[in-house]
Symmetry: C2
Subunit: 213 residues, 2 copies
């Protein structure tokens, strides 16, 4: 009965699960062997029922009265997120934002390893940014094939975003993390995660102005 069908988790659930992982690794809870949905919910202003439902999507089971075995729950979430082994990625666009992302230490905790940076600007090629040598786009295909690269990160200006995406698609990559303010055109089997600051700014703007009304 353990091969129960687990339906695909909603995006909101995935976000929360990533947050549970962080809470479970916080020092407040590291001393506990068992953690309940109530413990987690309290730290995040959520309702215990939601935490339980979310954890269900990972396929992990707790024990009535005790809760969830902390270490095993962490392992289950890590598996659910696909963060067991380091995941290789490449980055296109070694500008200010690209550099910031290359330098972000936090990704190590999420098994993300940006193995190479690419840029079309000849002046940048060959320079070293955050420990990675910047390479020409012509070597993208080769690098992706050689390492087992899971997805590409696009941090180029708007006008160059689509062609960067096209190059990534050409390599056979199935995921793109898009930091440019452009809706990319890609085949249906390629997943794009948009990180468009304009949207967040819009939400914040409306919420703030709405509060006075």
């Amino acid at each position: 009965m353990s091969n129960k069908q687990i339906p695909c988790a909603p995006v909101a659930t995935i976000r929360r699960i990533a947050e549970y992982l962080r809470v479970l690794e916080e020092c407040d809870l590291t001393s506990k062997e068992w953690v309940s949905a109530t413990d987690i919910a309290q730290k995040l202003d959520l309702k215990p029922i939601q935490v339980r439902k979310d954890i269900g999507y990972t396929g992990f089971s707790g024990k009535p009265k005790k809760g969830y075995e902390r270490v095993k729950l962490i392992a289950s979430i890590v598996t659910f997120l696909g963060w067991e082994q380091p995941n290789q990625a490449v980055l296109i666009g070694a500008g200010a934002l690209g550099s910031a992302i290359l330098g972000y230490k936090g990704f190590k905790d999420h098994s993300l390893d940006i193995i190479a940076a690419f840029d079309k600007n000849p002046k940048k090629i060959g320079t070293v940014i955050r420990g990675r040598k910047v390479r020409p786009l012509t070597s993208l295909q080769q690098v992706v094939k050689k390492a087992n690269v899971l997805f590409g990160i696009i941090t180029v200006p708007a006008v160059e975003a689509q062609s960067a995406a096209d190059l990534l698609v050409e390599t056979g990559i199935k995921g793109i993390w898009n930091f440019s303010p452009v809706k990319l055109n890609v085949p249906a089997d390629v997943t794009v995660q948009r990180e468009d600051l304009c949207f967040s700014l819009a939400i914040l703007s409306v919420k703030i102005s709405g509060q006075s009304g």
Copy 2:
């Protein structure tokens, strides 16, 4: 009858409306005086009914058969988003990410004007990043009061995020754009927009791995 009650728009609607604005300003449509929901939907892979419903939240009305008057719709969206006048913001944390945000040209199109940058590092104070002099946190209160600052942007490391938020709350600011991987503790009347890369990474990871299942 024009003082009809418009309910608060869902977050997903706000995101899409920001995207409609971009489409309406694209060269493809600038020649058109009238734009229909179908026109917009087609450009974004959405259904016309959703576009019409969303536009309804802005309070703007179209004309049967013709569609929406393009220039007026843009104006209505800009008002809805609170982007009529430049909105002042301050930024705390002049590191790599902070610099990238300070240098992002696209914000001009969204009426965002980051008027000042702050940092606690004495070595950074006084230096100029992307045209803004970095100031000490002790002058935050004064700068916020003098200008009409709408919100604060937090780009400090995780451990400093909460104290940065506390300082912003102290100034009376009602909005925070939080780029740190920390859930901030703020009063109920302060809006926080989280920009946690870890969440997006989680979503992308699950979607990619899920595709093979």
